[in-house]
Symmetry: C2
Subunit: 146 residues, 2 copies
Amino acid sequence: MRYYEDIDVGSKQDLGSYTVPKAEMTDFAERYDPQPIHLDEELAAETIHGGLIASGWYTASVCMRLLVDGFLEDSSAVGAFGVDELRWRTPVRAGDTIDAEHRILDATESTTRDDRGYIEGELTAHNQDGEEVIEWRATSIFLRRP
Amino acid sequence: MRYYEDIDVGSKQDLGSYTVPKAEMTDFAERYDPQPIHLDEELAAETIHGGLIASGWYTASVCMRLLVDGFLEDSSAVGAFGVDELRWRTPVRAGDTIDAEHRILDATESTTRDDRGYIEGELTAHNQDGEEVIEWRATSIFLRRP
């Protein structure tokens, strides 16, 4: 189990990659973001995007899964306050392979609760052409070593 | 169709509400955020949350659906740059009813492309006890009236 004390500021985690299945991408959009650019192939082709693109929340969710598998699993993380500077750069399309990495920006012990500390991390992800697709900064709560 | 010109700074949109089914909440977590606090009932009961809580990305996705149905549908929105100040306040639990609203903070015509403008909006959502569960600010691209 990795606790707050085991996380080094400046360290990087390679989170691996995921290839986006079209059905999963459009299933997500049907349920949570049913805009034509995510679902209507013909209409999307005529927009500024030139074809179907993933919901930005789908891209974020796929990267969250990579972050759990590649960093949060077997850690003492118990939640997050939120996210800042979430940016969708190049849109994700069906069949894209998204490769993510995570960097520890800062670590701060709680001043009011001695069982926890706060980890600020930055996630970035690129597609198979090296174009950045998403990035965000998040502050998570980690328990300290008992 | 509502275009950039039809969106008034300062206006508010009531986005309605959604009651969270437990199966949907845990299905989302299994796929995109498989941390014990979202999936393992017994373990979650012993954490600082005292029971299963929704993935923050699930809460965001549910609110995105409310935003599409209550504001973006039948508009000229063609995407968003990103999100700032996303905050998860009170965790969402199965059976909670989430009520969302949206407020237009700013509108700016593009200086480089005369077919579009940028709308900055703030989404906030509360549970059935009036506790805030999530908020964010996003800048979206809207096409101007042709």
